[in-house]
């Protein structure tokens, strides 16, 4: 069995990650489809899917539902099913507040706070954090045999993996703690760091923002214990035996460099890297078996020879880049997937899945 075959059959959690635009979302969907067709109940949680892929999965923006939708026609297997959900940082944040903030009044106070409104969608790392929060919810629900989580492009690997820690750090920051001590008015905040902080905000952004900020921090107080606990649990889940990280890259140097960086970060963090996928690889031309005449004038045949020569050079160049990744692979599988024509419908995803699971790699 190829590595990704066993991942599809046995893992409980798959995380796809990698640089921007290399096919993480598509790979996540293709692996999920393969697992569903193997008879498992699977959910794929995607970030920002291409429009037609979203249509295929039934999660296009117009019908954006926050609950999982079953993908129609995904499988005929009697026990298999494929579910999909789009990840949206802001709505996941809202949902977390609604679930965790306690009484309705408090929930409303937070949700309508202007500082919260602007934080929810854009707090650095919010998307990454939400991917992880969502994962925790799905994992503890126990409703699925396999959860496939797609991640936003991570230029800095740390962004994704450190997201839970960072949010916890935010909530345990001394300034934050001082600000949230109930009953203490902001005029009497004596901690030097905090008063400097508030003074700075007031000077820079005006008193209204200071009030909103304090109000926001206060309304969140009490939630951080839960946050911290879930972050710790999620950190465990991500390192569990049932989890497989799949690193996706393209054979272009910028992507490979980033993938190398990410692979290192995964190793250092103790995350189980099972496979590296190099997607969008150009096809290797068959050898010409003859010398190209040096004095061939421009014409259709020259065009064809030129393309042959360029593709041959490109493929060699790509192989060289992939080798950098291969030397890092250790026991992780390295799977090459060719540049395909159309992978955004179920048929295309199945073809992509065939390449991913192929034993040749």
């Amino acid at each position: 069995m190829s590595t990704l075959q066993s991942v599809v059959h046995d893992a409980s959690l798959v995380v796809t990650c990698g640089p921007g635009g290399v096919g993480k979302t598509t790979t996540a969907a293709a692996l999920a489809l393969a697992a569903a067709r193997a008879g498992r109940r699977v959910i794929v949680v995607t970030v920002d899917p291409a429009r037609r892929l979203a249509d295929t999965l039934g999660i296009d923006a117009s019908a954006r539902s926050h609950d999982p939708v079953e993908v129609v026609g995904a499988t005929t297997h009697p026990t298999g099913s494929l579910w999909a959900q789009m990840l949206d940082a802001e709505s996941t944040f809202d949902r977390m507040i609604a679930d965790r903030a306690g009484d309705e009044q408090r929930v409303q106070a937070i949700l309508s706070n202007p500082i919260y409104r602007s934080i929810a969608g854009s707090l650095a790392g919010a998307q990454e954090y939400m991917a992880i929060e969502r994962l925790h919810q799905l994992w503890t629900s126990g409703e699925y045999d396999l959860i496939v989580i797609d991640t936003p492009p991570s230029r800095h690997a740390i962004d994704l993996l450190a997201a839970p820690d960072r949010l916890v750090t935010f909530f345990s920051h001394p300034v934050y703690r001082v600000l949230t001590v109930p009953g203490r008015s902001f005029a009497r905040v004596t901690n030097a760091g905090s008063s400097a902080f508030l003074w700075a905000i007031r000077r820079l952004a005006g008193p209204k923002v200071v009030e909103d900020t304090i109000e926001f921090f206060r309304s969140l107080s009490g939630m951080e214990a839960g946050l911290r606990q879930r972050a710790a649990e999620t950190a465990q889940i991500l390192r569990s035996e049932e989890t497989a990280f799949v690193l996706v890259s393209s054979p272009r140097a910028e992507a490979i460099d980033e993938a190398v960086h990410l692979a290192g970060a995964l190793r250092d963090g103790g995350f189980p890297l099972h496979a590296m996928v190099v997607n969008l690889v150009h096809p290797t031309p068959a050898p010409l078996g003859m010398e190209v005449p040096a004095d061939l004038p421009p014409g259709p045949l020259t065009d064809q020879f030129d393309l042959h020569r360029e593709l041959t050079a490109l493929v060699a160049d790509e192989a060289r880049e992939m080798n950098t990744l291969r030397t890092l692979a250790d026991d992780a599988a390295l799977v090459e997937v060719p540049l395909l024509d159309d992978v955004q419908d179920l048929a295309g995803l199945a073809v992509l899945g065939g390449h991913l699971l192929s034993t040749a790699g």
Binding site: S118, H173, R202, K208, T213, D303, Q304, A313, L314
Partner: protein, 334 residues
């Protein structure tokens, strides 16, 4: 007109395309993986070859642009990457991080020690975290300062990648909504004014001739133009397969036209690449047609280089391609 526009008779100095000389600030924007940094670097090179003093600013701190232009990896300290004796042009490069921009800002505004202490590493996270968009605004504010100081003839900004471009550029208008007064508000107002000023600032959108990047760039173009009033420079379509009419026929037919006969193995090998190449060209034409329909912007097409890793020599090639007269959409669609 900021760049020298009459370079006739100056030999190999390259004439700068009109659009590139139109404003001092040029912001390069695109989704991850489409090549915004490459386009930023090649534009810098092209303008410098035309005699301009260019400052290339990498916002997300991609250090690799430095070596590609013949210098050291980019860092917060400015360095000269390339100079051209012929026209007197040069390319300088640096990164700008929010922390650094914040420090500079406090310096500039003459804020005291207390505030600077508040801005120390830990509190910076808090300030940035509790005033979202602040990080972006600080960087844009720094660019606005560079423009005001006339720090270069042309300031090219390589915007953060993948999904962050829109929030980055929108940070000022978002903060204008959230913050009613104070220096942050002033800063946001001034940055918004710069972005919307067609005499001072324009935006180059970069995409690939593929379905998803085309969808995304169309969306982004309307967003930036409608919401922020940004002036859009010609669209750059990167990594285009070179047009090769010879790919429309079989190897045998092509050989016949050129009075050659090919061994069977050669024909098979050529037919294989021809099939692949034609499929790419067909889908590329389809994407050009979609752009014609959806985006009334002139565009410049950059060739796909047959290499997986970009080398300094490639940048010169791309700079020449950028110098081409932009294609008007209707002309392509006829």
């Amino acid at each position: 007109m900021i760049l020298p526009d009459t370079l006739a008779g100056m030999g190999p100095v390259r004439a700068t395309p009109v659009w590139l000389g139109r404003t001092r600030v040029l912001v390069v924007v695109g989704k991850g993986g489409v090549g915004t940094s490459t386009v930023a670097a090649s534009s810098a090179l092209l303008a410098a070859k035309g005699g301009a003093d260019v400052l290339l600013v990498a916002v997300d701190g991609k250090p690799g642009l430095g070596p590609l232009l013949g210098g050291q990896p980019l860092g917060p300290a400015e360095q000269t990457l390339r100079t051209f004796t012929r026209g007197g042009g040069r390319v300088r490069g640096r990164t700008i991080s929010p922390e650094q921009a914040f420090g500079d800002y406090l310096e500039l505004k003459g804020f005291g020690r207390l505030l600077r202490r508040a801005a120390s590493a830990a509190s910076f996270d808090l300030i940035a975290g509790s005033t979202p968009g602040m990080e972006h605004l600080l960087v844009l504010g720094k660019i606005k300062e560079l423009d005001r100081e006339k720090a270069a003839d042309l300031i090219i900004v390589d915007v953060p990648p993948a999904g962050h471009a829109a929030p980055f550029l929108r940070s000022a208008s978002a903060l204008q909504r959230a913050v009613a007064s104070g220096p942050v508000r002033d800063q946001a107002d001034e940055v918004s004014a710069l972005l919307a000023d067609h005499q001072r600032c324009q935006c180059v959108l970069v995409t690939l001739p593929e379905e998803t990047p085309v969808n995304e760039v169309v969306e982004l173009a309307y967003d930036l133009e409608d919401d922020l009033g940004l002036a859009l420079a010609p669209l750059v379509v990167n990594a285009c397969w070179p047009e090769r009419p010879g790919l429309s026929m079989s190897a045998a037919a092509a050989a016949k036209q050129q009075h050659m006969t090919l061994p069977a193995a050669t024909r098979r090998a050529l037919d294989g690449v021809v099939r692949f190449g034609r499929a790419r060209l067909d889908s590329q034409h389809e994407q050009f047609a979609r752009l014609d329909e959806a985006l009334p912007l002139p565009r410049v097409q950059l060739p796909r280089l047959p290499a997986a890793r970009l080398l300094p020599a490639h940048l010169d090639l791309l700079a020449s391609a950028l110098a081409a007269e932009p294609i008007m959409p209707q002309r392509v669609s006829q």
